[in-house]
Structure formats: C-alpha cells, structure tokens
C-alpha cells in the first residue's frame, strides 16, 4: 500500500491506497512546522484503515507540498546565495539578479561573480574553464557569508561540462556548501534558468531541513519506508533529490489535484476543472500528465523557465459575489465566510452558491431562503457561470475535439452535467482528497532538453543519447532500473542555425523501485 500526502497552505490531506483502491482518507489543518500536520494526517489514515496498525503494509510515502513556494513568497528561511556564472566575455551586461525585486535579492544577499567558461550554441567553448578563478570566487563568497551556490553556464543545457567541473571542484574543497547546477533544472534562456537555479539554491537549506524532519517523524511512527516528493510535472523524486531540487516541487499542488481527479475518473486524456470558493483552475491532462506551459513563469516576481503545468485560473467560485444590474459574478468572493454571509446560510450577500441552491442543484444551508430569488436572475446567473467555465475549457484545449471533463472542488455544484467542449462530465468520488491521491499514484520521471547539431552526431544517435539520458535521470530519481519508458519525444529543428541544429526534448517515466 502507498500513502499520499498533500501539504497545502490551509489543509494537510492524506490518503491510504491499496493498488487503485482508496482505503482511508484524512483531512487536518496544516501546521507551521509542516511535520506535525503530516504526522496527524498519517495517524488519521493509518488508524482509519481497517482496524489494525497498517504500518507494516506500507511500501512508500509520497508527499506533495506548496511549502517551498510559500517559503519563497514569504521570504522566510532563505539561504544567502551566490550565483557564479561561467560566461567568459559574454553576457556581462546583464549580471545575475539584474531583474529581481529588491527585497528578494536582499534576502539572498545578491552575491555574484562572472567567471571564465561557457559554451556556444553548438557546444564550442566561449572561453576555457579556470579552476583558480572558481576557487577564488568561492573564498570571496564565503567571506561574505554565503551559504549556498548556484552555477550557471552559457548554453549549459547544450554542454554542461563547465558547470559540472565547477560543482565538482566546490564539492571537493567545500563539501558542506550546497550547489545547484542550472543545467539540471532549466532550459535554454540564460537569465530565466539562472534565476531558477538561484531560487533553488536559496531554498536548499529549508528543503534539507524539512525533508529530514519529515523522514525523522515517519521513522518515529514506525514507518521505515522510502519517502518521495511530487514534482511540478506530476512525477516523483526521492527525498535526497527533493532536498537538492526544491524548485521542482514548487507547483506540485495543482498538478497532483489534476492527476488525482483524472485517476479517480479513470481517464488519461481529459480537461480537469477544479471549482474552489474564490477561483476555478482549468487544466489539461495528456496521457495522464499535465501539459506544460510554453512561456516564462514568474515565481515571486522572478522570471524562470522550468516546466510548470499550463493552468487557466478564473475568478469564479462557490463564494463569488453576484451583482444584479448589470449581471456580474465575481471577481470578489466571500471566501471562507460563505457560511455566514451567503443567503442560504442566513446572510445578506448573494453568492454563486445561492443561485445553484435556488436552481435545485444542491441542498446546502436552508434551501428555502433561496426560493425567493428571481428565477430569471438564477437562470441568467448560472448561464453566465457556465459560459465562463466553457470559455476557459476551450482555451486550454489544443483542438475543438470534445474531451471528457473531470469536475472537482467544493464549487463544482455550480455547474450542470452538460458543458460545451466536453464529451462527458465526470464527478468522481473522493474528489476532496484528489491532490493526496495524485501524490500517491505518481510515477518517477526524468527529462532532458538539449540542442544537437545533427550534422555532427546524426539524428538517430542524438535521439538515442537524449533518451538514454532521460532514462538515466528517471532511474537516478528512484525508478526501477530497466523498467523506464520514454513517454514524450519532441524535436524542434532550429533551421536558422547551421549544422542542422535541432532541439530534442525527451521525458521518461517508470514505476517506483521497491527496495
């Protein structure tokens, strides 16, 4: 059996699963230290199971958390981080941190150094690597109170040699200093990839502490099992990897929610609509994984370029306030105060939930209070809700072809069972813990994105090399060796570059290894 845990900003949910079956589930409040809430949720699912201590049957615990994202947003527990860029004479006009908000830059210390090294688009060196320059930069950084290091090299996704050499050198001489390599987390786009590496380095202390605390707590509960963390793309990484690459877990909450919902509905290709109290998230799953956004993503006002799920959020939910003339629903919402302020709860604010109750779609509060509402208003209001959700659904799809639609969230009662663009509307059971289920069912993945000069290596050779590396990364992240499958191959010819340059991206996933 597996346990999935989701640590959200408000709630910590856990679910115990035997194969595809939900054995028990638990919802508790998230605690500031994270660990206490996780332990309570785990105790809940283990006790709520089948009348006996279940510790023995558990094979693994999977966690999804927005904790690192919150740490970043609140500027809490960030390590002083130096960025060392391997660039030689190139890129010097725009040094690391050049487009950061002042506060966050100050929180990291803003220490940086531009060093010899870096590569061209085809893998040639811009300038040669210099050991002494790296050592000197490190000594200077440490003298300035720096605790962690991010390395970025020009075209390191094409040729990571200089970043790797610098990391090796630092680990040899200063083994206690965490080092993040930009080539291991981001794509082409120097500033965005470097930013992601710097954020990761800054989070590495808090990530290491959190991961250690959770493992300790699990051991205390008698759960001596492997612990995994969910990544933004819906795959897992093992605890050591998570401690080193916390940015990869940053956006795992919405991803797990989408994947969990589709799993419960038994559908691999679907639109998932999660209607909350204030907003609705709409995303799309392709072969069970969320489609990634193609543009730069801002985290705490810093531009980054690692892969995040492509979601559309609209300001519409169960608590959205309804105005009559002209008719408008949201963006303001009564939020958690719905149980005091909505009409069906005896309040005076007309909310979207009141409309749904008046239309007989749900029995909440005192339905009689909603009966006095003008039927025309109710009908037009719900039509407006439907129109806006349908529009968002249409925007996330890549074609007009109807897809199954999985509907989850407390506000899903606002919608009926027919929506344009949906071949069917599915409302799965256990949807309130979809995110914990998403964590529990996750597989392990590895991804590679590089530019190859096909004149030099040949297309098949390049594809094979990329696939091999993706598989190796999945195995390194905890997948069973020899049972990893390549699930995505994308080739983009860069025709304006010589040498038949092509960008190849490969993603591989596999079942967790059991050791």
């Amino acid at each position: 059996m597996r346990v999935g845990v989701d640590v959200g900003g408000t709630n910590t949910d856990a679910v115990l699963m035997a194969g595809r079956r939900v054995v028990s589930k638990e919802k508790t409040a998230t605690t500031p230290d994270v660990t206490t809430g996780v332990v309570r949720a785990l105790e809940g699912v283990l006790a709520g199971g089948e009348g006996q201590p279940l510790q023995k049957g558990i094979q693994a615990v999977m966690l999804g958390t927005t904790h690192f994202m919150n740490a970043l947003l609140e500027g809490r527990g960030l390590a002083r981080t130096a960025v060392l860029r391997l660039c030689g004479p190139s890129t010097r006009l725009l040094p690391p941190f050049c487009d950061w908000p002042d506060e966050l830059r100050a929180a990291l210390g803003g220490h940086l150094r531009l060093l010899p090294g870096g590569h061209e688009f085809d893998g040639r060196e811009i300038s040669s690597f210099d050991d002494d320059a790296v050592r000197d930069a490190l000594r200077d950084a440490l003298a300035n109170g720096v605790e962690t290091v991010a390395l970025s090299g020009v075209f390191s996704p094409v040729n990571p040699a200089h970043e790797s050499r610098a990391a090796e050198l630092i680990r040899q001489e200063w083994p206690d200093i965490p080092v993040t390599l930009s080539s291991e987390i981001g794509r082409i786009g120097l500033l965005e990839r470097e930013n992601a590496a710097a954020l990761n380095a800054a989070l590495s202390r808090i990530a290491a502490r959190t991961v250690e605390a959770i493992r300790g707590a699990l051991a205390d509960m008698g759960l001596a099992v492997p612990v995994f963390f969910s990544q933004n793309d819906g795959t897992l990484m093992d605890a050591e990897y998570a401690a080193r690459y916390p940015v990869l877990a940053m956006s795992s909450g919405p991803t797990n929610s989408m994947r969990g919902a589709a799993f419960l509905a038994g559908i691999e290709n679907a639109v998932v609509v999660d209607v909350g109290g204030t907003s609705t998230d709409v995303g799309i799953l392709v072969q069970g994984f969320p489609r990634a956004a193609s543009t730069a993503v801002k985290l705490a006002e810093v531009r980054t370029n690692f892969r995040m799920p492509d979601l559309i959020s609209i300001a519409l939910g169960g608590g959205s306030i309804v105005r009559r003339d002209p008719l408008a629903i949201g963006p303001s919402s009564v939020g958690a105060r719905i149980t005091d302020e909505a009409i069906v709860f005896g309040g005076a604010t007309l909310t979207a939930t009141d409309l749904a109750v008046a239309a007989g779609r749900a029995l909440i509060g005192e339905p009689a209070r909603a009966r006095a509402l003008d039927p025309d208003l109710v009908e037009r209001g719900l039509a407006e809700v439907r129109r806006r959700v349908e529009e968002a659904v249409d925007r996330v799809k890549l074609s007009a072809e109807p897809l199954p639609l999985v509907l989850v969230g407390g506000g899903s009662l606002l919608l009926g069972d027919r929506l344009a663009g949906a071949s069917e509307v599915v409302r799965p059971e256990h949807a309130e813990v979809a995110n914990a289920i998403g964590a529990a069912i996750a597989q392990v993945g590895g991804e590679v994105e590089k530019v190859y000069s096909l004149e030099r290596v040949g297309r098949l050779e390049a594809l094979a090399a990329a696939k091999q590396e993706a598989v190796a990364r999945a195995t390194e992240a905890g997948a069973q060796p020899g049972r990893v499958e390549v699930v995505e191959v994308e080739e983009v010819p860069l025709t304006y570059l010589p040498g038949n340059a092509t960008r190849i991206r490969v993603k591989a996933v596999g079942e967790l290894g059991q050791d």
Partner: protein, 360 residues
C-alpha cells in the same frame, strides 16, 4: 527633442512588440540591456528627422543571428564597438544612431551604443514595422549603400564588409561571419548623412512605439479597453475579432511559415479570418477574400489585455483581436512594393491599401 528614460523603455518595448506584426523577436532582453546602461549613463536623447543637424553622420545598428541564441548568449555592448569600427574605417565620427527595424527587439539596439557614446538616436527606422530580411529596409530600397558595415561579437572580434554588390550580398556575407561568431553578434551598417536619413527613414516610429506602449499600459492600469487605446493612438482598424481555431506551421529556408485560422465572434460571428505568416504576418483573407496584405501591418493582440501575440505563441483557443494599420507612405511606392509588397512574398495579388476606420 525628447529623452528615453527607464519608464519610456518599458513603453517602447510593448509598442515595438505591436509594430513587430508577429515577429521581430522579444524586446524583453533588449529592454533589460538598455535599462542597465540608462541607469548608469542617464537617459538617451531622441532627435526628430528635422532636428538632425545638416552635417550629421548617422549609423544604423541591429542584432544579427538567431533569436534563440540571443536569449542564452545575451548580447552586451558589442554594438558600441561596431559603431566605433565603422568610424575607424571611414574616418568620420558618428553623431547619431538609428534602428533598422522598429518592430521587436531591434528597436532598442541603437540605445546601447547611444548611451555609452552619449549620442542621440533618431526618431525613425528603416521598416516602420518588422520584416524578415535586411534588404527590406527603406534605406536600401531608396539606394543607400549598405557598406561599409561591421559585425562584432562579444569576444572582441570585428569583421568589416568593405564592399558588396547588393544588400543581399551583405546579408549573405554577414550571415557567414555570424555563424562563426556563435550566432549572436551585432551589425552596424549604412553610414548616412542627415539628408539621406530625411529622405529614406520612416519618421516618428520611436515616438509611435512609446505612445502605443503608454496607451496599452494606461488602459491596463485603468481597466479600460486596450484595443481601443491602440486605435486612438495610431490610425487603423479592427479587422476581426474571434477565437483561434487552427494554427498550421512549417519551417522552411530558415523562416517560420504558417497560417492561423480565426473564427469570428461578436460582430464577426459566422465569418472566418485566415492570416498567413513568414516570421511576420503577411496577408489576411476574410472568408476567402483578400482584405489586407504587406506592407500594411497585421497585428494579432490578446482581446482582453491588448498585448501582442508573436507567431510562435499563437495557439488554439486564444481570444484575439486582429488589427490592421496602413503602412507608412515610404513602403507604398512602386520601388518599395517591389521589395516588400505581396508579390515579393510570392502572392499573386496586387497591393490594395488598407483604409483606417473613419474618425468619430
């Protein structure tokens, strides 16, 4: 005369994106680079064509190479060296700089050497929009020799092209050097007199980009209609409003070609618009009838935010407004149409000028 400060840079980068008609590259990195130098050296002066002193020497500056390389091996101050290299070669100091292409990232390149050398930039450019090839600038269409020109990389290498039999040959030679240099050099070319610039440059395009950007930013801030704000800033019309239902792409001969199909909404419900692109948007057909062609500008913007959507980001489901703007007069002469008209891009249609909407 006016000045470009940090705030103006942000507006210009948005306006230049709109004038990029789907291409021209992302001005974000260019905005950051110019901002670093403006912070260090102060705002850059902008001169109208009329304000250029008669004895001016004006040099044109732009980036060469692949946009995907430019976002990784971010350019620095190479264009300053490229300007100095031309000065050294001709023995004449530059007194002002100008952009070859206002659409997209090249709009901001002249600001780099301008800030460093404390030179003014000219309020104008050689395209009034973006086009895919160097010979499509009005400077070359109206007979300015492209040489001497200089290509500089970040390592300190400089190549001078002393002579070329045509602008196309300059492009070919510069491209060969560009590849050796690692695909992100800068290019300075076509030293011109004040009279040359007044005769061949498209006037007022930096001011136009700035006004467009300001209008969009104001509308976003005040929750107004950004599309309306754009159209009150520059004469033009809404060609179509609708939803993207198909995007077809192919990459041939180094260009991103394709077409986007949009189903009408609101007043355009029931109709369909198809826009063909080659890096930039070229022609638009409404229900099979040709309604706009190059050199007139076809811009696809997000219907709600008014922000331009470049061809590589077009995607099924986007709600868009398609705007059309008449090309500047210098692009509509017979000489210009031979280079940038519909036939130059392989369409058999004759150019029919777009009329802006009637002013209320």
């Amino acid at each position: 005369m006016w000045q470009i400060d940090e705030d103006a840079l942000v507006s210009i980068s948005i306006g230049a994106g709109i004038l990029g008609t789907g291409g021209g590259g992302n001005p974000y990195i260019g905005m950051l680079r110019a901002r670093e130098l403006v912070r260090e050296h102060g705002p850059v002066d902008v001169l109208d064509l009329d304000e250029l002193p008669d004895d001016s020497r004006v040099i044109c500056v732009g980036g060469m190479g692949a946009p995907t390389v430019g976002v990784e091996k971010v350019r620095g101050t190479e264009s300053y060296r490229a300007v100095r290299a031309i000065e050294k070669h001709t023995g004449e100091r530059a007194t002002a700089l100008i952009s070859g292409e206002i659409g997209g990232s090249n709009s901001l390149e002249p600001l780099i050497p301008a800030a460093l050398a404390r030179l003014p930039v000219v309020d104008g450019d050689g395209m009034g929009r973006a086009f895919p090839e160097l010979q499509m600038t009005t400077f070359f269409i109206y007979g300015i020799p492209p040489t001497p020109s200089a290509v500089c990389d970040e390592k300190g290498n400089t190549a001078i092209i002393e002579d070329a039999v045509s602008p196309t040959w300059v492009e070919r030679m510069a491209r060969a050097v560009t590849i050796v240099m690692g695909c992100a050099p800068v290019f300075a070319f076509a030293p011109m007199s004040a009279a040359d610039v007044r005769r061949t440059a498209i006037p007022g395009t930096l001011s136009l980009a700035k006004s467009l950007g300001e209008a969009v930013r104001r509308a976003q801030r005040e929750k107004g209609d950004p599309v309306e704000a754009i159209l009150t800033t520059v004469p033009g019309r809404v060609l179509f409003q609708g939803k993207i239902v198909d995007v077809e792409r192919r990459t041939t001969e180094g260009f991103a070609r394709g077409r986007v199909t949009i189903d009408g909404m609101g007043d355009d419900a029931g109709a369909q618009l198809v826009v063909d692109f080659q890096n930039e948007n070229l022609v638009a057909h409404r229900d099979g009838a040709l309604i706009v062609t190059v050199p007139d500008l076809i811009c696809i913007v997000d219907a709600e935010r008014g922000e331009p959507i470049t061809t590589e980001l077009l995607r099924y489901g986007f709600r868009v407004s398609v705007l059309g703007f008449p090309a500047p007069p210098l692009l509509k002469t017979p000489e210009a149409l031979a280079v940038v008209g519909p036939e130059a891009f392989g369409y058999e249609a004759a150019y029919v000028p777009l009329e802006p909407r009637a002013t209320p």
